[in-house]
C-alpha cells in the first residue's frame, strides 16, 4: 500500500469527523425510547433543520436512509418488498426502498433501529412525490402530519406571494405543531442563533465548491460532493458540529488547491485531470464506487453538479439570515434546485460550464425521478447551444440495481469523452 500523504490524512480528518457526527446522530435516534427524545421525519429539499432542532427534536431523512440502504446493498430487497405490496415498478425507488426498510424493521444505516416518527413534517419542495410518500408513511404511523406546501418558482423568481404563503404556513401550522409535539415554546432567539451558524457553514461549503474552479480541481463536485453536502443537507445545519466540519473541510480543500492536487477518489488521489465535467442529475447509489471509478479511470473530474444543490443553492448567493428567520427559511425552501424552473436550471448549468471552464455537460438521467428527469434532454440541448460545448447523456437509477447497466454507462461515457477530445483536437488543429 502506498504511504499516505499529508493531505490524505487531512482529508480523512473531515471524513472521520463527519462519520462520527452521523454515527452519534443515529445512536441518539436509536436511544430515543430511553432518552425520551422525539423525532421528526422530513425531506432534504426544503428541510427545516434549524427550526426542528430549535425544539430539541431530531430530524430523520427518509431519502438519506434510502440511499444508504442502496450503498449497503439492501435496496434490491427493500424495493422487492414494496413491489410485492403493490407499489408500481414505474415510481420513485426512494419511496419503495424506504417503505421496504420500514417493513423490514426500520433498521437505519448504522445497523441501529430508527424510532417511529413523532411528527411527519412534509415540507414539500420541488417534487410531487414527496406528498405521496408521506401519505404512504402516514398510513403506517400513528402521528401528526404537518404539511408545508412550497410553491414552484415557475417564473424564475421568488415572489412576495410565495414567501408570504410559506411564512404563514410556518407560523400558523408548522410551528404550533412543533410546539405541541415537543412540549416547548417556539424560541426565536434560539432559531436565530442556529441560522447564524448555518450561514457560517454555508460560506465554507461554497468556498469548497468554488475550489473546483482551480486547475486541477482539488475536489470532485459530484461524487465527492455528495459527501460534502451530507451534514448541511441533513440533520446538522445550524449546529456547531456543522460549523466545525465545514471549516475543517474548507481548510483541507484549500490546502489541496494550493498544492495543486486533484481530488481523492476511493482508489486514491487522482493523478491527472483530463476532463472537466458538469453533471446534472442525482448519482446512482447502488454502484456508487463503480460509477465513480468509471470517471476517475478516465481522468474525468466533475467540477460542478446540480445534485449538490437539491438541499440549497448556496453558491448562487442564498444564505440563511438570522435577521429574517421565517422569511429566510421560506426563501430557502423556495430556492432548492428542483424547485427552479427549467429556464433557470438551463441558466445555472450554462453558467457552471462557463465559470468552471468545463468541457461540457453530462446528464445522468434517473429513471425514478420525474422531478429531475422530465425535460433533461431539452436542458442538455440548450446548454450545448449556449456554451458551444458538447453534452453527454447516460441513464441509471437511484437505488434500484436493476437499472444500473455498467457496460452501457461505460460505453456512453467513453464515447462522450472521445467526442470532447475530438472537439479539442478540432479546436487546436
Amino acid at each position: 500500500m502506498a504511504p499516505k500523504t499529508e493531505t490524505q490524512v487531512h482529508k480523512e480528518d473531515s471524513q472521520l469527523r463527519q462519520k462520527t457526527m452521523i454515527a452519534e446522530h443515529y445512536t441518539r435516534l436509536a436511544n430515543t425510547p430511553d432518552t425520551g427524545e422525539k423525532s421528526v421525519y422530513t425531506f432534504v429539499p426544503g428541510n427545516l433543520t434549524e427550526l426542528i432542532r430549535s425544539f430539541d427534536l431530531l430530524p430523520v431523512l427518509p431519502e438519506i436512509n434510502a440511499l444508504q440502504s442502496a450503498m449497503r446493498g439492501k435496496s434490491r430487497e427493500y424495493i422487492a418488498i414494496a413491489e410485492k405490496l403493490g407499489h408500481s415498478e414505474d415510481v420513485c425507488t426512494y419511496v419503495k426502498c424506504d417503505l421496504g426498510m420500514m417493513k423490514s424493521g426500520n433498521v437505519g444505516p448504522t445497523g441501529e433501529r430508527l424510532p417511529k416518527p413523532d411528527l411527519l413534517l412534509l415540507s414539500y419542495t420541488g417534487c410531487f412525490t414527496f406528498m405521496k410518500w408521506f401519505e404512504i408513511l402516514r398510513e403506517e404511523y400513528d402521528c401528526p402530519v404537518a404539511m408545508l406546501h412550497v410553491p414552484y418558482q415557475a417564473g424564475g423568481v421568488i415572489t412576495d406571494s410565495m414567501r408570504t404563503y410559506v411564512v404563514e404556513q410556518l407560523r400558523d401550522k408548522v410551528i404550533p405543531l412543533l410546539e405541541q409535539v415537543s412540549g416547548k415554546r417556539y424560541d426565536e432567539a434560539r432559531l436565530r442563533a442556529m441560522l447564524t451558524r448555518s450561514a457560517r457553514a454555508e460560506d465554507d461549503l461554497v468556498a469548497v465548491l468554488n475550489a473546483a474552479r482551480s486547475r486541477p480541481s482539488p475536489i470532485d463536485a459530484y461524487f465527492g460532493g455528495v459527501y460534502y453536502i451530507g451534514p448541511i443537507f441533513s440533520a446538522f445545519r445550524g449546529t456547531e458540529d456543522a460549523v466545525d466540519y465545514y471549516r475543517m473541510l474548507r481548510d483541507e480543500v484549500e490546502e489541496r488547491a494550493r498544492e495543486g492536487l486533484g481530488p481523492v477518489t476511493p482508489e486514491g488521489p487522482m493523478e491527472r485531470e483530463r476532463f472537466r465535467l458538469v453533471v446534472e442529475g442525482p448519482p446512482n447509489w447502488t454502484n456508487f464506487r463503480e460509477f465513480w471509478k468509471m470517471f476517475a479511470d478516465e481522468g474525468a473530474v466533475v467540477v460542478a453538479s446540480t445534485y449538490t444543490k437539491v438541499g440549497g443553492v448556496y453558491d448562487m448567493g442564498f444564505r440563511h439570515d438570522p435577521n429574517r428567520p421565517l422569511e429566510s427559511l421560506a426563501e430557502y425552501c423556495l430556492g432548492c434546485y428542483t424547485n427552479l424552473s427549467l429556464p433557470r436550471r438551463v441558466e445555472m448549468l450554462a453558467r457552471y460550464v462557463q465559470d468552471f471552464d468545463a468541457d461540457g455537460l453530462l446528464v445522468n438521467s434517473i429513471k425514478s425521478c420525474n422531478s429531475f428527469s422530465a425535460g433533461q434532454l431539452m436542458i442538455l440541448r440548450e446548454v450545448e447551444r449556449r456554451t458551444g460545448r458538447p453534452g453527454g447523456f447516460i441513464e441509471s437509477d437511484l437505488v434500484d440495481p436493476r437499472y444500473f447497466s455498467a457496460a452501457n454507462i461505460k460505453n456512453r461515457l467513453e464515447s462522450y469523452l472521445q467526442m470532447i477530445e475530438q472537439k479539442r483536437a478540432g479546436r487546436t488543429a
Binding site: D90, C92, L342, N370, S371, G375
Partner: protein, 393 residues
C-alpha cells in the same frame, strides 16, 4: 327509436367525434375569427375556466395526441420512462397543431407538467406560457389566499396578452354559464349511473372531449341535444354487464378504442375520472358574494379527492369507496397511464381501502397511443365475469 331520434343522436356524436379528432382545433379557430377573442390551452387536470371566460378567453383543454398522432420530434424531448402525454403535446406544439392558441396554462398537476411549463417557455418564447400553482393547503386563509393571488396574477398576464380585464359582474355571469354546463354534465353522469346501457361511456367521453375545444355555451347545447336524443331512444336495452368504476385516467387519456374494449368485454363503466376538468369541483360554484372568492373556495373546499391533491384528514381511498357505493359499482378498474407518478403512487393506498371494504378491483396501465387491447380485453372480461359470478352467488 324513431328515425329522427336516431339521426339526431348520430349527428351529435359525429360532431363530437369530429371535434375530438380535430387536432388542429378548427372550432377554436372559427371561434377566434368570429369573436376576435384569445384562446388559451390548458393541460390537465383543472383550471378555473370561468375566469378565462369572463375575460373573453376561450379555455382549450389539451389532452395529448391520442393514438393516431405520429410522434416525430416529441421523443427527442423525453426519455422512454416518462409518460406519453408531454411528448405528444410537444409534438403538437412543434407541428403547428396548436398555432391558433395564444398561450398555454400548465396547472400544478405533477412534476412532468410542471417541467413542461418551462420547456414551453424555452421552446415557444413568443407565446404566453403560465404555470398555475394551486395550493395543497386547503385552509381558506392560507392556501385560499395564495390561490387567489395566483389567479389574479394569471388574470393580469391574460390582460397583458390582450384579454379583457376581469370584472366581478362578468365573472359572476361566467360562473352561472359554467354552472349550467356542470348541471348538464351531472345530468348525463346521473343518467349513466341509472341506465348505463343508454349512455355508453365512449359516447359520454367523446362529448366531454369535444367540450374541451369549443365554447362552453355551444358545449352546453350539445349536451342538451344528446340528452334529448338519448331520452327519445327506446332501442338501447340493458345487457348483463358488470358495473365498474374506472379510475386513474385523470390526465393522459386512454385511446377511445380502449374504452370501447372495456365496454365490449362486459363492463358498464358507471363512473370514471376522464376529462376531469368538467367535474373537478363537486357541485356548483357559488354565485352570490365575491365571485373571485367563490372560485377560490370552490377549489379549496369543494375539489374532488384526487391523487394530485393532498389528503389532509380523511383516510386515503375513503372517497373512492364512497363513490363506488354511490354509483352502485360492483368493482373498480384502475386504468392509469404508464409512468404516471400521481396515479401509481396513490393506487396502493386506495387499493387498501377497497380491500377493507370488500370491493373487487383489477389494474392495468396504458399509453395514449396503445393500439393493441387484446390483453386488456381478456383481463377486463375475466374481471367482469368474476363480478357477475359473485353477484349470482
Amino acid at each position: 327509436m324513431s328515425a329522427g331520434a336516431s339521426s339526431r343522436l348520430s349527428a351529435v356524436l359525429q360532431r363530437a367525434e369530429d371535434l375530438y379528432r380535430d387536432r388542429t382545433l378548427g372550432e377554436v379557430r372559427a371561434w377566434k375569427a368570429r369573436t376576435r377573442g384569445l384562446a388559451i390551452g390548458f393541460m390537465p387536470i383543472y383550471i378555473p375556466r370561468e375566469m378565462l371566460h369572463a375575460q373573453g378567453v376561450m379555455p382549450v383543454g389539451i389532452m395529448g395526441g391520442g393514438d393516431d398522432l405520429e410522434i416525430i420530434r416529441g421523443d427527442a424531448y423525453y426519455q422512454s420512462y416518462i409518460c406519453h402525454i408531454p411528448r405528444s403535446t410537444i409534438e403538437m406544439g412543434l407541428n403547428g397543431s396548436l398555432d391558433c392558441l395564444d398561450g398555454m396554462i400548465f396547472p400544478a398537476t405533477c412534476d412532468v407538467i410542471r417541467n413542461l411549463s418551462g420547456m414551453w417557455q424555452l421552446q415557444f418564447p413568443d407565446r404566453l406560457s403560465c404555470y398555475l400553482d394551486v395550493p395543497q393547503n386547503f385552509d381558506a386563509a392560507l392556501g385560499g389566499s395564495f390561490y387567489r393571488r395566483e389567479l389574479e396574477h394569471l388574470s393580469h398576464e391574460l390582460v397583458a396578452h390582450g384579454a379583457r380585464p376581469l370584472e366581478p359582474e362578468v365573472l359572476r355571469a361566467s360562473i352561472v354559464t359554467y354552472n349550467e354546463n356542470r348541471r348538464r354534465v351531472e345530468t348525463l353522469f346521473g343518467l349513466r349511473r341509472r341506465a348505463p346501457w343508454k349512455i355508453p361511456t365512449h359516447e359520454l367521453y367523446l362529448l366531454l372531449r369535444a367540450g374541451q375545444v369549443m365554447a362552453v355555451e355551444d358545449f352546453t347545447a350539445m349536451l342538451e341535444e344528446y340528452i334529448t336524443a338519448v331520452n327519445e331512444d327506446t332501442t338501447r336495452q340493458p345487457l348483463d354487464q358488470a358495473r365498474v368504476l374506472l379510475t386513474g385516467s385523470f390526465c393522459e387519456q386512454p385511446p377511445l378504442g380502449l374504452i370501447k374494449t372495456l365496454e365490449r368485454s362486459g363492463c358498464y363503466i358507471v363512473e370514471d375520472d376522464f376529462v376531469q376538468v368538467h367535474r373537478f369541483i363537486r357541485g356548483e360554484v357559488r354565485v352570490e358574494g365575491d365571485p373571485m372568492d367563490n372560485i377560490v373556495r370552490a377549489f379549496v373546499e369543494d375539489g374532488v379527492a384526487s391523487p394530485v391533491r393532498y389528503i389532509a384528514e380523511h383516510e386515503k381511498g375513503a372517497e373512492l369507496v364512497a363513490r363506488v357505493r354511490e354509483c352502485a359499482a360492483e368493482g373498480v378498474i384502475y386504468c392509469s397511464a404508464s409512468f404516471c407518478d400521481p396515479a401509481l403512487l396513490d393506487q396502493p393506498m386506495t387499493v387498501r381501502a377497497l380491500e377493507k371494504a370488500g370491493i373487487p378491483y383489477t389494474a392495468f396501465k396504458f399509453a395514449e397511443n396503445n393500439g393493441q387491447f387484446q390483453v386488456i380485453r381478456e383481463q377486463s372480461g375475466t374481471f367482469a365475469d368474476s363480478i357477475k359470478l359473485w353477484s349470482e352467488v
